[in-house]
Symmetry: D2
Subunit: 345 residues, 4 copies
């Protein structure tokens, strides 16, 4: 059985998914759409697929699933349309920058009963998966404190920053999801501090480039997140989980692991220079998991609700910075008593 | 020239200092005092020094300096007495559990014009000193984010906890001082979260065993601290500083650095089992620095004011937990406009 | 431009190359041949290629190049046939177990003027390539001592051992080639010692399972090789080069790089469990380099002469063990004055 | 009980032992002798001991044991004299450069029945001891292959080289002893290769600066040693033992373990700059073990026979280089049938 894909968006992350799809023996990339014609054509000729409009893909009977890599402000609308059209949907994070809009969108998905998976790629990194597996095997006992360090090699252009929804929604959102993934308990409270240390233009644009976050669960588990938009030594991506019986950590990855020794000391090369090379395996595993969900018609994970909660944590963090206080997640999401509604299958 | 020492307190930390003093070629341990006679006698016979009462040491003309290792609630009184008697003073942290009492004590020290050094031993660890030196050399550019992980192998007895002033004043205080040491700028705001995950009796005693802290300076530098009273893998003591041009970290230390490989993987031994072995060199360097200050009649560092500020940070952290908000350090200390008063030389 | 491949042999290593060819955008796997019909069929259906006999592939005008993965005793004959037929040839090591047979074969290749590349895959490992690059950049000065540790996770079946030509020709041959690759100077003398420590049946079969080798060049550079047929901790593959200005090393690789800490210590997982996963990238890079040579009609590297010399080193090592003395490589190869003859392009 | 020491020789290694003795609570440094008066006086004033001639120490009733740190050509004579005088003897390696002279000396020691310990300090390094302990606990099964890398930061003056007996007797001798210590079986055969790569003056002086050695035992266990007189990255001292169930290794040591990360990569500082700082603990443990042997009147280890065998291995290595062949240790020592004679207690 082969899952036939339409790709919406042929930009940087679209290319990453195109490669993952075309390398997957269970998948076929049938068509790509992009408002920027040349981008669509280039990708189509590289992977031997058709160029179609979004509307055409929506109606294509030879397409089972779409991967949404268009600008964020189109995500929710596209999810709703394709959901109603009965296509399985993989959508890059975030679903929308607004929590209420996401809730509305997920209700549509639920009504349509379709498959929706949100692109938290790091859950599929083999090293982070091994961390999770170690926890699940009980090797470190009860999880107590999760420590996440996540730093980009360099800040994106300020134009990108302006459309990004801010560092918490754009960058920290991955770490919020990872914290939830590893804590095994919903986050109750968020405290954050944020500043502009890397590039004053980022401040002028109303955003931050250096943030620290503390999270706590109802039972008192902790997580901390440290983000910077600039790390001279490469793409810094570490997690560590401290538990009642031990701890487990995933170290940074580098393209080559050699060491040069001389009178100045022992030097290993810098880390990967960004997410495309750092998370190559993660992207492949992610699409593979999506295909499994599509094939088996089982709920996808991470789900729409996972996307919603990560976004709510981002909003809570921003509120915490603005108000200099710990913010309850429920202040953002409401009680989520109707959480079962948002399964985002 | 030899600095002649009186040791007040022959308990666990007193023994550590007795060893450091007796191994230092510029120092002589002349006498020890302890309310518990046997402890004083044992230490005296091991190091070949006299047993005297505190009052006798106060009046001893053959003693230049005292090391105060008595219970915390005696520190401020002893500092005042020995300061007035013209002895140089090394006092274990904290000076007192109450900020106002510390302020009053430091005024007495200032009036007497004596030397006072507070026992933040970690500043003298060769690895942490190398981190500081790397920063001072400009190798990582401007300091932006300090990350401190500090976990004890096991919780102390609840009796100790009850007298300790709580985890922030007893344990985190070292990390507060280290954060100040490395940030190179005073801390402006403290946010903390705290819970009981290790031992419910600690909670019953009104304390916490697992805490996370975020600190920020006026210019927006960050520091985070993660503490637990229990780490199965040993005495976990790591610091990492991220700056505009790079980062520097000090890794954990273990007594033997071998690695055993077999079908289960590659295993290195656990870390040191506590501070006495982990910080052996730090204690030796600390006493040596104190002796240098005494000999040169220059101000000691860390000073009384360093002790005061670390205590204020602890108090701010506790307030932050209680009130679920970011707390300004100035709420605790007042403006410290009179800071020059508290040189605690 | 696409290089069209015929694959001779659909066994373990044949599958590795089939995967590398089919993942390479510049290559097409056209046909596979195997005496064992089911193996050929399975591989053909997995990669969507034809099944043909060796004779048919020899005559196929839609095939530019062959990859020889058949049993060793067929290599030299196949190289000669396909060379005469004008196909580019990639042949797994060794060309033959007999040095004179290899010489004769290379003369045929030279006469035909075709491309021949020998499968020393490790030269294409990104980590080892980075070591080589570091040397070539002059970062460690003049190379002085190469240290190679190479241990298999477990011994192959004794049946395999019997046909293998012995550990030096089968296993150490890779390390001989790596030593030459890194020394940058031909090896002059070989000393070896060998014993049976892993499996007495290997001894009964006339082979060894544990060997140490010392190599020296005319100018006095050293290399040492340590081989065992069994390492409980995985596929142990390390190289280290010591030079006049420094040293460079490539550490072992593992599938996941996490670390679990508890009261027993700090444990990282075992290494890769064998060459297929350890050298995945190396195999892909190797085929890519072969395709580049085919496309550009430039000499392939490693060449036939590289295959010949590595084999001669294996023979010298065996002679050294038998005669308890240092053996000159020229005792095996003759003067190689006619070395230019054996370019094995 | 206190062991009262006389120190013969106040040079570089004499100072190392003076420090170890004076820091040991069970030892007292009573007197020092040195042909160079100023050296003796300086050391005496630093450690508060007397200056006496060798002859006076020989007759001193207040001295129980001597540490011999004089030039090598005086060792055997001094051992004989002090042995007859009933003093316990710790002698720096080697006992003599000539195997027959050592044998004769050990006979005298045996006749006198005294304690003789030879200074193979590395056996007392805590990391190497942990390796040995791991082996003894059976954690790696049967020992199969020992790998020793041992490189000095820089070559000694050629004047020293000329008197040293050559690199095998002066430098490799430590590694020969370590190989024996870890193999747990006597070495049967030695193969070595040697060259001059570091300093041509060393070659002019008739010595080598870069050597590789292979050792084998009767049962087929292997050891390899790699030595260079120059390593730009510091004092390189590694051992690794591969066994039937696993492997154990001791990594290099550095004075501070920090890591600096920037665009050039991740850099740890160089290693210790020589044996005095690298083996500080080893020297302290060594003297402590000697004192234990003196106090308990039990045989010292490493013994005189250990010194003899290490020297014989050095001689065998030199013979192997000269004759380009594997050399049996028995060619040097004779059958050692009378080995029980040389207990060198």
């Amino acid at each position: 059985m082969t899952t036939r894909f339409g790709l919406l968006g042929a930009g940087r992350i679209g290319k990453v998914h195109a490669k993952a799809i075309s390398s997957n023996p269970k998948a076929q990339l049938v068509a790509v759409a992009d408002a920027f014609e040349k981008a669509a054509n280039d990708l189509a000729s590289q992977y031997g697929c058709a160029v179609r409009s979004v509307g055409e893909i929506l109606k294509s009977s030879d397409i089972d699933a779409v991967v949404i890599c268009t600008p964020t402000d189109t995500h929710a609308d596209l999810i709703e349309q394709f959901s109603k059209a009965g296509k399985a949907i993989f959508c890059e994070k975030p679903i929308d920058l607004d929590v209420e809009r996401v809730k509305a969108c997920l209700k549509v998905v639920d009504a349509a009963g379709g498959t929706l998976m949100v692109g938290f790629n790091r859950r599929f990194d083999p090293h982070f998966q091994a961390v999770k597996h170690t926890i699940d095997q009980g090797e470190i006992g009860a999880v107590e404190m999760v420590t996440i360090v996540s730093r980009d090699p360099g800040a994106p252009p300020v134009d990108y920053i302006k459309r990004s929804g801010g560092i918490f929604r754009d960058m920290t959102i991955h770490d919020f999801d990872m914290a939830r993934f590893l804590l095994g308990e919903e986050i109750d409270t968020v405290s954050a501090q944020a500043s502009v240390l890397v590039d004053p233009d980022i401040g002028t644009a109303g955003d931050y480039d250096s943030v620290s976050v503390m999270l706590s669960t109802a039972s008192g588990k902790h997580a901390t997140i440290s983000n910077s938009r600039r790390a001279t030594y490469g793409y810094d991506q570490r997690i560590e989980v401290h538990g009642s019986k031990g701890a487990v950590s995933a170290e940074n990855q580098r393209p080559v692991s050699i060491e040069v020794a001389n009178a100045s000391g022992y030097t290993r090369p810098p880390l990967h220079d960004f997410f495309m090379t750092r998370y190559t395996e993660a992207y492949a595993n992610e699409i593979s998991a999506f295909i499994d969900a599509v094939e088996s018609k089982s709920p996808a994970s991470p789900s729409g609700i996972d996307g919603l909660i990560a976004l709510a944590l981002a909003e809570a963090a921003l509120k915490s910075v603005k108000e200099s206080r710990a913010v309850k997640v429920s202040e953002i999401t409401g009680p989520l008593a109707d959480r079962s509604v948002f399964q985002g299958r």
